[in-house]
Symmetry: C2
């Protein structure tokens, strides 16, 4: 049996402090009420729901999955029930603006709730997650009429929403979509085409589903500049707001996937379905981009959630399982020993827990920067939020989601043979986590985004400002206690390597050697993630040290240990990637494609 999930509230609350959430949010007038006094009860409530409602049905969702018969997708009944309770409790809308019926909380607050809900049941969380995207799209770019018509029931969770981008021939490259939107006399459009990879494109948890669909109006420009966005409800919406007749939106099939079985991944067919244009024609991709950062951070959070969730079971198993005598332990002591006393098992647990902390801080900071970008009133602050968010997002998405897979797999290893057996639930974390490096822009695309859009921001000054913050922290760490100043040295060494390769890359790009830069993108992102992780762990160490002196709580010495472990044993992996970054393109292209 899987270990009962228990939300790591104390770690989450500490995470908010590490990234200075209250200071930063305090400067945004819209959130003047937001304090630690809101965070803790919110996390406690969320934990209760996740632990009692979502975690117990996680394995059911995995085993039964969503099923399709005659175009009708059925969820396990437990999911239908859980979804109703989820919507009623208001979890779908805590960080949506209050003017549209949401809780009006900062996005930062959803960092913790996202982690909790996704650790408990990743597949379940995708439904409201996609709804949030649809809500944002309509709220930011829709007309007043559209907002009135669609938002209330989306916000309340009575309906769910989806995002329809990909087509069979158009995945990463949306310029080639062919779904057609023909203008009608009444101002609506007829939408016809096939969309793929539509998460919760069809299900039986709500009586309507509001699809946001990218399509091309005949005569519009070629490529990405000719894409428009439409609202296409599954059922037409009556004057009174209720769901009416069918809108010819059909789910043709659902994918049989490695994981997230309870999240139906649908092939959707639109056949002259009524669509409502969002904003202006041909601006669909721009609208999509406004939601992309938020969605990408969320996907990074899914990696965090899987790693964090799988750690719990692994740690419990390691505490319970009696096996073998640890090196250096007497036979007598070994009688009361479990495998958590073996150095190698400790190493795995420390590695997971230490990374989970780093991942958590990174994601929380990224979400905080979203709040700053979206809601700060001070222009300079807002610009800073946009800049920092721009750099962090591809790293959060890719570095964390890659680690989510690696660490879930490491958690399996802690269990030994039991990890390979599905009943412990840890294998599900590996299977579920494996989607995160793929969707919402593959991690390769994130690396290109970092290299070609973010590195050159403000002529490289944006990146220098971030590295400057890291160096400032290093100076602060050097002035702290010995344990922290010794960490500073490790961080300084790796930042210096990162800075060197960053300069090298900047040089290549200035010389127009773009392929060398594209060849370097993935290992560069890995280096950057590893160093940023060190930055956050350094901040955590300073805070933990201070709090321990105030409270004498060993929770904080543990945090100090986790930071130290990160700096000494995980961070040094950074330099190992440097040679790949500066190797250039030649060896990658030396072999003919047919020879692989």
């Amino acid at each position: 049996m899987a270990v009962a999930y228990k939300a790591p509230i104390k770690d989450i609350v500490f995470g908010y402090e590490v990234v200075d959430t209250y200071d930063v949010i305090g400067k945004i007038p819209a959130f003047s009420d937001f304090t630690e006094n809101i965070v803790i009860p919110t996390m406690e409530e969320c934990a209760k729901f996740a632990e009692e409602v979502l975690a117990p049905i996680n394995a059911i969702g995995d085993q039964q999955g969503a099923t399709i018969e005659n175009g009708k997708v059925s969820m396990p009944p437990e999911f239908v029930d859980a979804y109703k309770r989820f919507a009623e409790a208001g979890w779908a809308s805590i960080s949506l603006p209050s003017e549209i019926g949401g809780g009006g909380m900062p996005i930062a607050l959803s960092g913790g709730t996202l982690e909790i809900l996704s650790s408990a049941n990743l597949a379940f969380g995708l439904a409201p997650g996609l709804s949030a995207g649809a809500i944002s799209a309509i709220n930011f770019h829709g007309s007043e009429e559209q907002k009135e018509k669609f938002l209330p029931k989306l916000v309340s969770g009575e309906w769910t929403g989806t995002m329809n981008l990909s087509e069979p021939q158009s995945g990463s490259d949306l310029g080639t979509i062919t779904t057609k939107a023909e203008p009608q006399d009444d101002g609506t459009y007829k939408i016809t085409g096939t969309k793929v990879w539509i998460t919760f494109g069809e299900h039986d948890m709500t009586d309507n589903i509001i699809h946001l669909v990218l399509a091309k109006v005949p005569g519009s420009p070629e490529g990405t500049k000719g894409i428009s966005m439409f609202i296409v409800p599954k059922m037409m919406v009556n004057e009174d707001g209720s769901s009416g007749q069918s809108n010819n939106v059909t789910c043709i099939s659902i994918e049989e996937k490695l994981g997230i079985h309870a999240s139906p991944t649908c092939v959707m067919e639109y056949n002259e379905s009524v669509g409502y244009l969002v904003g202006e024609e041909n601006r669909g991709l721009n609208y999509m981009f406004t939601m992309m950062n938020e969605a990408r951070v969320w996907v990074g959070g899914q990696g965090l959630a899987c790693a964090s969730g799988s750690l719990q079971g692994a740690a419990q198993y390691a505490r319970d399982r009696v096996q073998g005598r640890p090196v250096g332990m007497s036979k007598e002591d070994a009688k009361n020993s479990t495998i958590i006393d073996h150095a190698d098992v400790r190493r795995m647990l420390m590695t997971i827990k230490s990374y989970v902390d780093a991942m958590r801080y990174m994601m929380y900071d990224n979400q905080l920067m979203l709040d700053v970008e979206y809601f700060a009133e001070d222009e300079e602050m807002k610009a800073f939020g946009e800049e920092r968010c721009g750099i962090l997002t591809p790293i959060t998405k890719a570095w964390i989601s890659d680690l989510g897979v690696e660490l879930s797999s490491m958690a399996i290893q802690v269990y030994g043979g039991m990890g390979y057996v599905e009943e412990t639930g840890v294998a599900q974390y590996l299977r579920d986590s494996r989607i995160a490096p793929i969707y919402e822009g593959t991690n390769g695309i994130q690396a290109l985004d970092l290299m070609f859009r973010k590195l050159p921001l403000d002529n490289g000054q944006a990146m220098q400002r971030l590295l400057g913050d890291v160096n400032e922290l290093i100076e602060e760490m050097k002035k702290d206690d010995e344990v922290i100043s010794s960490m500073a040295e490790k961080l300084e060494k790796e930042v210096s390597t990162l800075s060197e390769v960053t300069l090298w890359l900047g040089g290549r790009m200035l010389e127009g050697e773009l392929v060398d830069a594209s060849a370097a993108a993935t290992p560069y992102l890995k280096m950057f993630g590893q160093v940023l992780g060190g930055y956050y762990m350094g901040k955590a160490a300073i805070l933990a040290n201070k709090k321990f002196k105030e409270t004498n709580d060993e929770f904080y010495t543990d945090k100090l240990t986790l930071s130290k472990f990160y700096m000494e044993q995980l961070l040094p992996l950074t330099s190992g990637y440097a040679s790949a970054v500066t190797a250039g393109k030649d060896d990658l292209y030396a072999m003919k494609a047919d020879n692989f």
Copy 2:
């Protein structure tokens, strides 16, 4: 649909040359007939069988799996048929001694066939793989009567064999087994107890199954010194050699696993079942150890097989899939471009292919050393084989099996969303590969074996001899063409780091700081694997360079490229682990077990 599997025969044949197979085998009189002229047709035949019979049923095995009803385990009918053809074709016994009816070929020959068969269908190959273990046990340690009774039908494949070690409370630590063997007046024993994780413990492909079971005779010494080994047939064997009445051997359940679904993992119950003692009482674990190296190398080979197999589909998908314009490519050129032209996809394919080469050479060399250890007549040569095999085995098992998981996951990433869909087959490689780091001694145990049994061999001289060979190769590389001498520098740098930490570890052990060494075990094994991979890639580079000059075949320039890529972009990861190796135990044990 999954890509049709095609055995990489040319790579395999090249691999045999890289590790000097023919030179070495030529010095073993028993194999004087063994030449390249045997290897190529054997691989071609094996490829034909794997491609036509095993690969097409790999997905069937995964989807249907083995099923159990009332203690009877049923295989998919296609597997029953394939197994019969496998046995008839003689694949079960090519490298078994000719005096017991085998093909009399060196174990080295099974390097290639193992890779081919396992890439085509990992789960299938486990049945004959376990039989081979049972055959070796009986052949090396059984009485003449036992050999006559059990070997012919095991060797012909009419029966399969199993190894029964673990019990619910005894996995990695066999000292605690409780299965009881009570001596009877007729010289047999009554075996009673429960065994777990028994691969192909029960199935319907043959009419009998010969179990090798570890059990304790009452009154025998405590712990591992009181374990005996027994032959326990599922059905008693009649005088005429046919299968007779039941022997009270029951399969209680089979595990629902992440992968290798067509390999039933059984809980076996022995209830006063008749057992025949192998060799002497209390020597069971020693007997087991004689087969352990072979089995561990084989499990490493499973990682190779999954990585190699998943590469094929990923490369084909990358050649076919049209998507996006690669950085630096004109719009016109991009019209004929597929995703294999994207640098990041290239990087993934190069990474997998380069590692697969390194893994292949390592495994082949390790198997070659098994031949030397077992069959060389010259005592000095035999001792060298034992020593080298001892060092290589834990590295082959752990480094390769870890990479098998990582690279199969990387292959999924090449596919993007399609990789997450089960129909492409690449997800199955990830699921199947995940067992290899666990069974046959977890990779953590391999790391301890390397640290505490192999590092101290001959007072550390054995390790120095291996590192000496690497340094000798480096000198040879330095005298070669510039491309190779430049590789030598990279290798020299990392070997030097490895040598430094090896000395440090030796020092810790001499000072009795064993826990520091155990804390270092896993990252040390990773460093060692990475450097040894470099050693083999260096050998491959020299050979490829020479062969290219002789033949002008671009296959060899590709091999040179793959070696160069390894040295410049993968090998440097070695140093990243050094800090973890020398960090000592303290941080691993700083947190209380309950605080994870």
